[in-house]
Symmetry: C3
Subunit: 467 residues, 3 copies
C-alpha cells in the first residue's frame, strides 16, 4: 500500500535525483535524541496493550481531530481526572469510531504515519475504514501479543541506534537504571526537563520543590541550595546517560539578574507571593542559570517555547493536561535571548538548540541568529510543523541564511513509539526531495547533496547532541 516514491517531488527530473539520495540514507540507523516514549516499555519489555490503548488513547494528534468534529473524549475512552476507575469503554468500540472517522485525517501527517505503521509494522493490506476496522483491530491485537512485537524487539527491528526519553528532575530514573543494568544493548537515555521545578506556574510547583529538597538533601528554600539541588539532579541525569536538557517555557525570554536580585525574586517565588510578570522573570533567569550549568556539565540545552498550554479551560479542568488543546502563540527570540547571549553567546563549549511553533521566526530571527552565534543551533520543524509542508518550509526559510551545518538533524518528539520509523522516514524523504530540488536547479551538485543528506539523517544529530 505504501508507494516507494511517496513524499518525493513529482517532477520526474527531481524525483530521480531524490530517489538516488534517499537510497543512500533510507537504511541509516535512527537516532532519536528528543522524544516522550515511556522508558518502562524498554525496561520491562512487556507486550503493549490493545490497539486502542497503544495507538489512540495516548495520541493527542488523533483525539484532538476527533474532538474538533464533535466526538467527546469520553467516547474515546479518555477518562476525566480522578474517574479513571469508573471509566470503562470498550476499546474495540473506540477503534470503530476512530476508523469511521479516518477520512478526517486526509492530508494530515497523522494519516501518513498511521498508514506507515499499519502497512509496514502490521502488514495490513487495505485502507482503514469503518468496514475494515474489525479486521484491523483483531490483527493488531493478536500481533501485539507475540514475541516479535515486544518493545525491545521492535526497537531493534526499527534500527534505532539511540532513543532519548524525557523526564522530570524528580524522576528516580529507575527504568533507565533497569535498562542500563540489563544485558540488552539498546541505548535508551534520559533528558533533563526541569520545568516542574523551574516554572512557578507549573502544577504542583511548591510540592515539587519539597520533593526536590528531599531527594537531594538540599534546603530548597534557599536560592543557593536550590541551584545546588538542580545541579545535583543534572549530574544524576548525566550519570544515567543524559546529554541534554529541555525547556518548555511559554516564551523564549531570558534574563540576567544580579545574584541579589535573583535571591529576592526567588524568595517571593518560594513564598508563592508573585505576580505573573515575576513568574515569567523567574523562568527567564532560570534559563540563563541552566545555560551556566550547561557550560559546566556539558549538557546541550533545548528550548521549546511558545505553546499556550491547556488553552481549553473546561477540558483542562476535567481531563487534565496534554489533551490536544495546546495552541502556539507568537514567539519573539531576538530580544528574548539577548540577556543569555550577552553572557554566553560566544562560548565555544556551550550549545543551545532553538525550536519554534511560530514559523514567522524562521527567516526573520532564527536563521540569522543561528547563522551568527557560535552557541546556537536550529532544531527541526516542531509539533504541528513536523509534516511534509512544514519540513519544506523550514528548509526553504532557514537554510539560505543558517546553512545546513547550523541545524541538528531530525527529532521525532513523539509519545507514539510505533510511529518513530514513519516519522524518520518522512523526514529523510522530504530532505532528499528538498536537496534534489537544489540539484535539479543546479544550486548544488549531486555529490554535495549526497553528503548533506547523510548529515541531515545521521551525522548532524550525533554531533549536536554529543552522542
Amino acid at each position: 500500500m505504501l508507494h516507494p516514491d511517496r513524499l518525493l517531488p513529482s517532477d520526474p527530473t527531481t524525483r530521480d535525483i531524490a530517489r538516488n539520495l534517499y537510497a543512500q540514507v533510507k537504511n541509516l540507523p535512527i537516532i532519536s535524541p528528543h522524544g516522550h516514549t515511556d522508558p518502562a516499555w524498554f525496561a520491562d519489555n512487556q507486550p503493549f496493550g490493545n490497539p486502542t490503548d497503544l495507538l489512540i488513547t495516548p495520541d493527542h494528534y488523533i483525539f484532538r481531530m476527533l474532538f474538533s468534529q464533535g466526538i467527546s473524549l469520553q467516547q474515546l475512552g479518555i477518562p476525566p481526572v480522578g474517574r479513571e476507575a469508573q471509566t470503562h469503554t470498550d476499546p474495540k468500540q473506540v477503534w470503530q469510531i476512530f476508523a469511521s472517522h479516518y477520512h478526517l485525517f486526509r492530508g494530515t501527517p497523522s494519516q501518513l504515519w498511521l498508514d506507515h505503521v499499519f502497512a509496514e509494522i502490521f502488514e495490513l493490506p487495505e485502507q482503514l475504514n469503518a468496514d475494515t476496522a474489525n479486521a484491523y483491530y483483531d490483527r493488531i491485537d493478536a500481533l501485539l501479543q507475540t514475541q516479535d512485537f515486544l518493545p525491545r524487539r521492535l526497537f531493534e527491528r526499527f534500527n534505532i541506534e539511540l532513543l532519548a526519553t524525557t523526564e522530570s528532575p524528580l524522576d528516580d530514573l529507575k527504568h533507565h537504571n533497569v535498562i542500563l543494568e540489563s544485558d540488552w544493548t539498546g541505548r535508551v537515555i534520559t533528558t533533563f526537563r526541569p520545568d516542574p521545578v523551574l516554572d512557578p506556574e507549573f502544577e504542583g510547583f511548591k510540592a515539587n520543590l519539597s520533593t526536590l529538597a528531599s531527594i537531594t538533601g538540599k534546603d530548597t528554600s534557599s536560592y543557593s541550595q536550590y541551584l545546588e539541588a538542580l545541579s545535583v539532579r543534572r549530574a544524576f541525569f548525566k550519570a544515567h546517560g543524559a546529554t541534554a536538557s529541555d525547556h518548555g517555557h511559554p516564551t523564549a525570554g531570558t534574563a540576567n539578574l544580579s545574584r541579589s536580585e535573583s535571591e529576592a525574586l526567588f524568595e517571593k517565588i518560594f513564598r508563592s507571593e508573585f505576580s505573573a510578570a515575576e513568574a515569567e522573570l523567574f523562568r527567564r533567569q532560570m534559563l540563563t542559570e541552566m545555560a551556566a550549568m550547561s557550560l559546566e556539565d556539558g549538557l546541550v540545552m533545548q528550548i521549546h517555547p511558545g505553546s499556550y498550554r491547556n488553552h481549553n479551560s473546561h477540558l483542562f479542568e476535567t481531563f487534565g493536561r496534554d489533551k490536544g488543546a495546546d495552541i502556539p502563540v507568537q514567539t519573539e527570540y531576538v530580544k528574548a535571548l539577548k540577556p543569555l547571549l550577552d553572557r554566553f553567546g560566544n562560548e565555544p563549549d556551550l550549545s543551545v538548540i532553538l525550536f519554534t511553533l511560530d514559523e514567522t521566526a524562521y527567516s526573520r530571527e532564527l536563521a540569522p541568529l543561528a547563522g551568527h552565534y557560535p552557541i546556537l543551533k536550529l532544531g527541526p520543524a516542531w509539533w504541528f510543523h513536523d509534516s511534509p509542508e512544514g519540513m519544506r518550509r523550514i528548509r526553504q526559510q532557514t537554510i539560505e541564511t543558517a546553512g545546513f551545518y547550523n541545524t541538528v538533524g531530525f527529532n521525532d518528539d513523539t509519545r507514539a513509539f510505533l510511529s518513530i520509523p514513519a516519522r524518520h522516514d518522512m523526514s529523510r524523504r522530504i530532505d532528499c526531495g528538498f536537496l534534489a530540488g537544489l540539484v535539479a536547479e543546479h544550486r548544488m551538485d549531486e555529490q554535495e547533496a549526497c553528503e548533506v543528506a547523510e548529515q541531515l539523517a545521521y551525522g548532524l544529530v550525533k554531533r549536536a547532541y554529543n552522542l
Copy 2:
C-alpha cells in the same frame, strides 16, 4: 482566450490528475454563502448600467491599483461624497483609461477574473488594451441591455444554487422580501451584519441605535432592551433566510464581562463618553453576546477581523469608505478568542467561522484552534489572499493541522456579481491542483482526492452554513 488548463499545476503528472479532479467538480452548482452583491438587482431584475458603472466604479480592487499609479478617483468617475450630482464623467472615457492601464493588473487575480468575465460572459475574442477598449465597451454595453443579461438570467446561467448578501441590522430587507414573494426560484438570502450597531466607533453609531429603537420598539438606552432589540433583528433576518451573522471588527478580541460590568460599559458607550479601549472592550463583549444569541437561534457566526479601515484619511474625508484603502494589520487569535471559547468553545450547537488577513495566523493559530475546538471552523483565503498563490498558501499552511473537514469551502465575498463564476472556478482549479499534488506525491489516493474535491467545492459549504 481562456486556456482549459489555466491555474492547474504545470508538472504533467500533477496536471493530469488535476484535470480529472476538476472535471468532477467544474459543473457543480455555485453556493455563495458570503458576499456583497446588491439584492435590488435580483428583486427588480432591471438591466445593469453601462460597462464602467458595472465593472469599474464599484470595484475597489480595480481603482486602488489605478490610484496607486497616479490616476485620481475623479478621473475614474468616482464622485466626492456630497458632490455626486456635480460629477459627470464620460463612462467611455473612464473605460479607455482603464483599458490603457490594463497591464498594471498583470499577475493579479483581478486580471484573471476580468479575463474570465470578458471571454466567458461577453465572448470577447481579444485581450483588452487601449486599442480594443472601444470595441469592448460597445459590445458589453449592448449585451447588458439584452434579456439574456438581466440579473436573474445571469444568476441562472451562472448555475448559482444560493447567494447570500450582507445587510445592516437596520435594513428593512425589502428587496429580499420582493424576491421571496416573487415566483422566481432563485435563492437569495441575507446575512446579519451588526457592526453599525455593535461598534461604538462605526460612523453614525448613535443614530443607528435610535433607528434600531424605532424599528424594534425597544428602548436602546437600556442594555437589556438593546440586547433584545438585537435579538429581534436577528429573528427578522432569520425569517428572511439568513443562516449566518458576520462581524468585521478591528481585532478578533472577545470578552466575558459580568452583567453589571456590561451594563456599566454600555452606559458609557450610550452617553458617547468612552475611550478607544472601552470601545474595543464593548466590541469584544458584543462578540460574545452574539455567540450567546447564536446558540439560541442557530445563526452561524463569521468573524472577519484585522482590517485597518479607511487608512487614507484624505481619501476617506473626500470620498468616504470602501475606497481601496483598507489595510490588513497583525491579528492575534489565541488570547483574543479565549473569553468566548472559555464560555462556548465546546458547545455542540454553535459554529464560528474564522477568517484572517494575517496569513501568519494560519499555521500558528488558526489551524491548531480549528483542529481542536468543536465550535471553530476555518474560512477560506480572504480578500487580498483570495488569489491563486493565497489559496495555495492557506491549504499548505492549514490542512496538515486542521484537516479538510474543519474548513468551509469557498466564499467569493464579492460586490462584483459578474465575477462570481470566475472566482469559484479559480478556487476549484486551485483546490484540484493542490489535491493533485498530494496524489502525485502519494500522500492521498485519487479516490480520496475526488471525494475531498467535491466537499471543497460543494459539500462543506452547505454543511457549514446550514444551507
Copy 3:
C-alpha cells in the same frame, strides 16, 4: 562549472519558457541603484588587494557563517578596533581556512555568488576546497594585478550602466568628484544616507552634528538651522548625482509633530537628555521631515527598517559595527507610516520605496500599502532574503496585490563589487522562472511575461530612481 540553466525551474515546460525569457534579459545593462561599494575604487582605479582582502575580510555574509561554526574573527584576519596595526594575519592562511570550510555555504546564496565570481570572473575550472585553495589564491592574486582587473575595467566588463554608492551626509564626496571630473564615462553616483545625523543613538551623533555645522556654516543647535543644514547637504549630494536618500532606522515609525513640539524635542536631543522613546520619536519625525524635503528636491526616499544592529555586544565592543551580528526584528508598517502618509501619501511628486527584513509584512502590509498609495513602491527582497527562495517568496506574496508596476526592480545592496553580476544574474533568473510559472499555468501570456521580465531587469529601476 556554471550550468546554463541554473536557478531556473526544473519542470521542463516551465524551464523552456524561462530560458526564452532569460535570453531576452540576460545581456541588459546592470543598473545598481543602491549599494555599498567604495567610490575610491572607481576614483583611483588602483588594483584591488589580495583575494582575502577583496573577498573575505569585508564580507559579513562569509565571516558570520564561519564565526557561527567556531572560527574567531582574529583567525580570519579581522582586527579588534584600535588594534589594526598589531593584527597581522597571513592572507593565504585565512584563505585556506575559508576554503576548508566552504561546505558550510552549501545551500546559501553566498556559495552561488562566489561560484559565479570564481567561474566567470577568474575562470577557475574546479570547485573551491581545501585542496584547491592554494591554486585559487594564486590565480586570483595574479589576475588582480593585471590591467583587466582594475576597478573601471571590471565595471565596464560587468556592463554596469549606473552604480550608486551610499555616503554619510558628512562625506565630502571627493571620490565622486574625481569620477565626475575624470574623462571616464562610467556613472557612479552617491546616495544621501543621513542616519548619522538623524538618529540620536547613532555612534558619535553629537560630534556628527558639530561636523554638520562646520561644513554647512549652520548653527545645528537651532532646530531650524539643523533642518537647513540637512537641506544644504541634500543639495550637495544631488549636485554629485544623488537621486535618492536612504534611511536605516530600527523601525518604520514616522511622526507628524507640530513645529513647536519638534523644536522642544530637538532641544532635548541636542542636550543629550533624551529617553529611548524620545530618540525613537525624533527619528520618526525626521523621516517625515525628509519626506517634506524630498517633495522639494525630488530625491526618492528609501526606507530600510527593522534591523537590530550589533546584537552581539561583546563582538561590537571588540570589533565594531557590521560584523555579521545584525538581526532582523518584527517590523510594523501600517500604523508606523500613517503620520507620514496622512501628510504626503497622495502627493504625485513624491516617491518612497519600502524594504523589509520581516517577510510577514509582504502580503499583510506592504503589498496592500504599495497597491494603494501613489507615493509608495515596494523594494526587492533585502539582505537575508536576497536569495533564490527569498526572491520567490516576495514575488509570490506581493505581486497578486501590488502588481509588478508598484515594484522597483532589483537592488544588489552589496559591498562586494565582484558579486554584482552574480547577484543581478540570480535576480533575472529567478524572475524569469517566476514569470515562466505564470505562463505555464496560463496566468499570463508569453508576450506579457517578456515585457514584464524586461521591466523587472531594467525598466522599473530606471523609472523608480529617476535614472
